[in-house]
Symmetry: C2
Subunit: 206 residues, 2 copies
Amino acid sequence: MTLSASEVNALKRAPEVNGVPAVFLERWSPRSFTEGEVSAADLRRVFEAARWTASSVNGQPWRYIVAAKGTPVHAKIVSSLAGFNKEWAPKAPVLILGAALARTAKGEHNPYGMYDLGAASSMLTLAAAELGLATHQMAGFDRDVARRELAIPEEYELGAVIALGYQGEPAALSSEELIKRELAPRERKPLTEWVFSAWGVPANLA
Amino acid sequence: MTLSASEVNALKRAPEVNGVPAVFLERWSPRSFTEGEVSAADLRRVFEAARWTASSVNGQPWRYIVAAKGTPVHAKIVSSLAGFNKEWAPKAPVLILGAALARTAKGEHNPYGMYDLGAASSMLTLAAAELGLATHQMAGFDRDVARRELAIPEEYELGAVIALGYQGEPAALSSEELIKRELAPRERKPLTEWVFSAWGVPANLA
């Protein structure tokens, strides 16, 4: 017998930290989505939240293609998915592909395109969680296929595909391997491994 | 006569969107900081919020060096600042430099390093805003100077310097130009310019 969606949410929840709002600790990336459609109003909300993200020289380099299941664009995004993502992500009611203008005015590569896109997408996922929506970002897709199928201009660098919808029951997933991943505890490095007072020296935050 | 900090906050606030929490709309990036110190407990909170950010294959490539004003590391970060940032950012009680492991196991450049670092940093800024703390991310710094002064290994790509502290009065800034920037309205592109149903075609989110 597997766990229910609410049981797995309890399992996935990060340890409480006084002063950190619950949404930061509760958001996670499920693979099981229900058939429930996402309203246009909720889509607008998550993009309005992302809209006010900070970006380098306020360049707002992020662009998103958003597609509801059953549309040709959704099918095109699905056609680019790789590996395990092909099994579960096509069922998500909404798929979103993020891209960023990643060139400077001189035509050079600009690393802040991806930095700012990652920022906006994380804001989108947090705003979705506030609305009771689940998201799962995927780097596992064929960028050449996505670029060709969706006619994305060369000067835009592709980011992630984001599945968006209502979380489903783990048991509804199509394989034991997917269910196993859905139930695995969330793990993160302790702060001592990545918050430093000097390179490699853990900061004292006690 | 210039505006007070609370007047400028009202001016900067994005238009209300039903269903989008206020913190997404109210967070902005001031340049005026008070002398008020940030507690170690609050620093821990903002990094704990960033800790649970989603990342590509859960790689958590982000690393941060965090430095309080008056320390040698703060001075080293200050020494890397460029342009206008040299005028206001040294007064911030905390400066944070973000970096990301941006190579694959094969040694190739991995664009998700910057993507994930941007995501974690944006979570940090939002969690800070929830605590009443202001942040201002800067791409304007000399990466070679920062890398050398802070001994950051080659395989880590530098992201942004983040000023963190309590927002100060606009009038406390050191020049007319900085005050002018502090009072300028926040501007963002409308969704029609970057949320598409197909490339270049605005999605219908009404």
